[in-house]
């Protein structure tokens, strides 16, 4: 079955070109040109990935991102023309999983989308635990003492990557490769922002993390089981 990509972009030429490229790569695409129609489209179409332009009429891309994230864990890849740290971090904090800076090459975009939808293959039954958190990998479920914690797929991937090798310290670069699928070193801010988001959900006290520990100067590792 083809993966469905929802393109949210107000520029018709770019939207059409994205459609051509993505169809050529074997995706199903749908386009909405207005931020206010993005959320209904997500509800209706249940896409596998949302491709979201941050500069939108009607509703700001950041707000659209937040709105989608508030009710869906669908992977969001944002398209941005701005490379300033503030803009990128703001986008990531509002819930985007990854970003692509205009102008991008088609291959780059496709790689980013593939990385977000690739987790459909069946996984072996696996139970992991960090601290008082238990992770049911094939069911995509995370519990703390019987209470379910809702994570986005990306956050889930991040947590699983850490939990699978409890004693290993992961550098940001390694996490970028394992979770985001970047082969070359990319923007480590992606990792920082998502670790913060993950902590806000799985930690009892995000100020004093017990599940995702920071190893100063190196990276992150899982807390003791």
């Amino acid at each position: 079955m083809k993966s469905r990509v929802l393109v949210v972009d107000d520029d018709p030429a770019l939207a059409e070109m994205l459609t051509i490229v993505l169809r050529g790569e074997g995706f199903d695409t749908a386009v909405v040109g207005d931020g206010t129609r993005a959320l209904p489209a997500v509800r209706e179409l249940r896409p596998d990935v949302v491709l979201l332009d941050l500069m939108l009429p009607g509703m700001n891309g950041i707000d659209v991102c937040r709105a989608i994230r508030s009710e869906s864990g669908v992977p969001i890849v944002m398209l941005t023309a701005k490379t300033d740290t503030v803009d990128i971090v703001l986008g990531l904090e509002s819930g985007a999983d990854d970003y692509v800076v205009k102008p991008f090459k088609p291959k780059e975009l496709v790689a980013r989308i593939r990385a977000r939808v690739r987790r459909t293959e069946t996984e072996p039954a696996e139970q992991l635990s960090i601290g008082d958190i238990t992770i049911d990998v094939p069911a995509h479920q995370v519990d703390r003492t019987g209470e379910q914690i809702a994570l986005t797929p990306l956050e889930f991937d991040l947590l699983v990557a850490l939990a699978r090798k409890p004693r290993q310290v992961f550098t940001r670069e390694v996490l970028l490769e394992q979770v985001w699928g970047y082969r070359h070193a990319a923007d480590t801010r992606l990792v920082n922002v998502h670790v913060q988001r993950l902590r806000s959900k799985v930690e009892r006290d995000p100020e004093h993390p017990e599940v995702v520990l920071t190893v100063r100067g190196v990276g992150y590792k899982a807390g003791p089981p």
Partner: protein, 575 residues
């Protein structure tokens, strides 16, 4: 002896030194304080005035006193003469017993003048002398202190005229100035000489009193004048000082500083004019700032707005390029050109955006402790493709574990730009990339052996969109902004970017960064000049060319080229 002499000389030298210092200090104060100058000038001028005035007053008073005295003396001697002529009409000075007669006559004279207080005005106390004429032979008879009368006075009197002299008389061992007046007295048997001596001690005392009064008064007057001058100058100087302080603060960037304006006098006018000037400067600066900000935002906006259509074009081109095998040769080549030129266009746009961000001062330094080895190696890897294309061997000299607080993305970009630049201009000859460090700094040197730089070009190569020479092809597809960005990046780190070059011998670019963010650097661990000629001197770290990169400003060429000389100095400082 010589020891004493030495000591004396030493002491003298010290004293002179102290004196010089005092003079210097005074000169400094004199130059800097208008108030002091006015006070001292006032003091000097009024001292002169007071001195002249005092002298005139004193002379005037003394003259008047003496004239009055003389008047009285004339009258006294007139009446005395008349009395004596009456009394001594029958006295023969040459006869025995004349002495007694003279004494009696003098006694009567002094008594008469003492009794007759209401008669002739008192000429004060006096002493009378009566003597027989000096010229008449025989023994002199005299009454009174004849020895006090000077000889020249007697001479004049002997010639038969009234005469006046000022001299001193001795009174109980004290010399007192005195006025002496002489008059011949005729008697039946010969002439007598009659003298009156007026001691002037009381007049002298009066004059002394006047003098000391004048001195004390003058001094007080001077002090008062100095005080007044100081006060008045203060009134003028204080607003001026205030104005100076406000102007300084204004110059320091406090553009809202204004002078307080009170009343309508000159100071108020100064304040008003100053405030007007400050206002107009402020508004112009604001305008310029706004204009600059607007321009920068425009650049940034344009760059952003261009990105969306560029993305579409880029994707379209890539789709065409991906299926270029199915196209006719001309179309195929076109699609290839389209893609390569789009790459250039993108690089240019990215650089433009970066430079506008650096110009706007919004670029931030994401400093972290990294191994420079890795950063430089990554930068070199990024351009290795270019190097292989042009067949340029890359010589790396990268010691491991050179840690520094830098922004790895920026440093990587700097090194990438430098190496790409060296590949562009290296004419296929080896390019050496060297990493060096010392306690406080790290440095990366990129050296090519290509066409080199002409004199003065070292400073120019960083001109935006500048190409050192028309013939220099750009293989790297660089935008021409690369070195400009590199300089801004280096400056953001508080580092240096310097260039050296010589025609036919290649060029060298050296980046020096502080190991700890925020440190200032004073020397670079790597030499910038040529190192490959026979007998080349490897300059010790920091020698020559370590000109700091100033915080702001644009490249200034610092030529250190000398004709026909082997230049080991850096040819320019890229600021």
């Amino acid at each position: 002896m010589s020891l004493v002499g030495d000591r004396a000389r030493q002491a003298l030298g010290q004293a002179r030194q102290v004196g010089d210092e005092l003079v210097e200090a005074f000169n400094a104060v004199w130059r800097r304080s208008l108030q002091l100058r006015v006070v001292i000038s006032t003091l000097a001028l009024s001292t002169a005035v007071v001195l002249v005035l005092g002298f005139v007053i004193q002379t005037q008073i003394g003259g008047n006193i003496l004239a009055a005295k003389l008047d009285d003396a004339q009258r006294q001697i007139d009446s005395g003469t008349a009395l004596l002529e009456r009394e001594l009409a029958g006295v023969d000075p040459n006869r025995d017993g004349a002495q007694g007669e003279l004494n009696n006559a003098l006694d009567r004279l002094t008594n008469a003048s003492a009794d007759d207080a209401s008669g002739a005005p008192a000429a004060g106390k006096f002493r009378a002398v009566l003597t027989s004429a000096a010229g008449g032979g025989g023994s002199d008879v005299a009454a009174g202190p004849l020895e006090a009368v000077p000889a020249d006075l007697r001479q004049s009197v002997a010639e038969g005229a009234r005469a006046l002299r000022y001299s001193t008389i001795d009174e109980q061992g004290v010399e007192i100035p005195a006025m002496m007046i002489g008059q011949p007295v005729r008697t039946a048997n010969g002439d007598l000489e009659f003298y009156l001596l007026f001691p002037l001690d009381s007049e002298q005392r009066t004059l002394g009193l006047v003098q000391s009064t004048l001195i004390v008064g003058g001094l007080i007057l001077l002090l008062l004048l100095a005080g007044i001058a100081s006060l008045i100058t203060r009134q003028v100087v204080r607003p001026v000082r205030q104005a100076a302080e406000i102007a300084e603060r204004f110059a320091d960037g406090h553009l809202d500083e204004r002078m307080p304006v009170h009343g309508e006098d000159e100071v108020a006018r100064l304040g008003e004019s100053y405030n007007e000037m400050a206002g107009s400067i402020q508004s112009q600066i604001r305008q310029l700032e706004e204009f600059g900000a607007l321009q920068r935002r425009f650049t940034s906006d344009v760059s952003h707005e261009l990105r969306t259509p560029l993305t579409t074009v880029r994707m379209a081109a890539d789709v065409l390029y991906a299926s270029r095998e199915q196209l006719l040769p001309a179309l195929r080549r076109s699609s290839e050109l389209l893609v390569t030129e789009l790459d250039r266009f993108e690089a240019l746009l990215g650089d433009l955006l970066e430079i506008s961000r650096l110009d706007a001062g919004v670029a931030e330094l994401g400093a972290e402790r990294v191994d420079m080895n890795g950063v430089v190696a990554r930068a070199v890897e990024a351009v290795r493709g270019l190097a292989e294309e042009s067949g340029t061997p890359l010589e790396l000299e990268l010691p491991a574990a050179v840690y520094a607080d830098v922004d790895p993305r920026r440093v990587e970009r700097i090194v990438r730009n430098l190496v790409a630049n060296a590949l562009d201009h290296g004419e296929g000859r080896p390019v050496r990339i060297q990493l060096g460090s010392d306690e406080h700094t790290v440095a990366v040197l990129v050296r090519d052996h290509g066409v080199g730089l002409r004199p003065g070009e070292a400073g120019l190569v960083v001109n935006r969109f500048g190409r050192a020479e028309e013939s220099r092809a750009r293989r790297s597809g660089g935008s021409g902004l690369g070195l400009s960005i590199a300089i801004e990046d280096a400056r953001l780190h508080g580092g240096w970017l310097q260039a050296w070059g010589e025609i036919g011998r290649g060029a060298a670019f050296r980046l020096t960064l502080p190991r700890t963010a925020g440190d200032t650097i004073t020397a670079s661990p790597l030499p910038l000049g040529p190192d490959d000629r026979p007998g080349a001197d490897i300059r010790p770290p920091g020698a020559g060319g370590s000109v700091p990169t100033p915080p702001l400003g644009w490249p200034v060429v610092i030529p250190s080229w000398s004709e026909g000389d082997d230049v080991s100095e850096p040819a320019g400082d890229l600021r």
